[in-house]
């Protein structure tokens, strides 16, 4: 397996995916889709880390990816528990219904 790619191409791909994640967080009103978009952004940053790690031939990129993975797993479990609770209390996933939190 011998691939030659330019470093910019990988970083640009990661940036594009991250931008798509940002757009997803901003334009959706359903909280499940917002959580999905956060996952997209985490993946994009992982891609950037791995690209940098492979550029310099160091394992640190993959180590950071493992940490991102652990963080994503923790975040998803808490986030989904919160979503279930919100649905039970408000019967809706619309974030506009959470205005009463006054946050």
């Amino acid at each position: 397996m011998k691939t030659t790619v330019s470093a910019e191409a990988v970083i640009l791909l990661a940036g594009l995916l991250f931008a798509l994640g940002i757009v997803g967080v901003i334009i959706r009103k359903n909280i499940i889709f917002m959580l999905l978009s956060v996952e997209i952004m985490l993946n994009a940053s992982g891609l950037a880390f791995i690209a940098a790690g492979s550029r310099w031939g160091q394992p640190d990129g993959q180590v950071m990816f493992v940490f991102i993975l652990a963080m994503a797993a923790a975040e998803v479990s808490i986030g989904l528990a919160l979503i279930l609770q919100i649905y039970h209390q408000h019967k809706s996933l619309n974030i506009d219904n959470l205005k009463e939190m006054n946050g």
Partner: protein, 186 residues
């Protein structure tokens, strides 16, 4: 092999685009799964086979299953898709998308202005990753373990379903009902 990289990248971008525009949550989840597989392919092509493995097993296998379980528990189906269709109008998404596109264009200009030659990604074996993980980053591994522990306890606590009691007189009735329900379950 560059062609494989560009194909996987295109698939990842298109699948992600589909995720943020779908109305039905299950369709979005399936597209996200495709996007994660494309990511795994990219990781493999960049010489990070261990990361590709983790991406498939943990992300596509475990985290997405959690999402699908929640979507099934909440019974999000046709009505949700209908509601999403109402929410996702052009005037809602055009502003944020344009601003994000401007930011991305800036990023594009910055990256392209610093010219770098093509390189062949170095293959980093799982062995090197493990040595680095359990030597220099040992404290990080332990902190990640504590984070996961806290997440499990927190999720178990938050996910517990409590009845909303509006008045203290109603509290006793609710408790009686719950006892009856528990007896029935037993």
């Amino acid at each position: 092999m560059e062609i494989a990289f560009y194909i996987a990248g295109t698939v990842a971008v298109v699948a992600t685009l589909m995720v943020i525009t779908r109305h039905n949550p299950v369709h979005a989840l399936l597209y996200l799964n495709v996007s994660l597989m494309a990511h795994a392919m990219l990781f493999y092509l960049l010489g990070a086979s261990f990361a590709a493995l983790l991406e498939i097993i943990i992300y596509a296998g475990a985290i997405m299953v959690l999402f699908i379980f929640v979507v099934m528990l909440l019974n999000l189906g046709k009505e949700t898709a209908e509601q999403e269709r109402k929410w996702l109008k052009a005037k809602v998404w055009i502003g944020p998308s344009a601003l994000s596109a401007i930011l991305f264009a800036e990023f594009l200009a910055l990256v392209l202005s610093s010219g770098q030659a093509a390189y062949s990604p170095a293959v980093v074996s799982p062995r090197e990753v493990a040595i680095s993980l359990f030597r220099e980053y040992l404290i990080g591994v332990e902190l990640a373990a504590m984070l996961l522990m806290a997440a499990v306890v927190g999720a178990a606590h938050i996910g517990r379903h409590k009845r909303l009691v509006l008045h203290r007189f109603l509290k006793e009735e609710v408790e009686k009902e719950e006892e009856k329900h528990e007896e029935m379950v037993l």
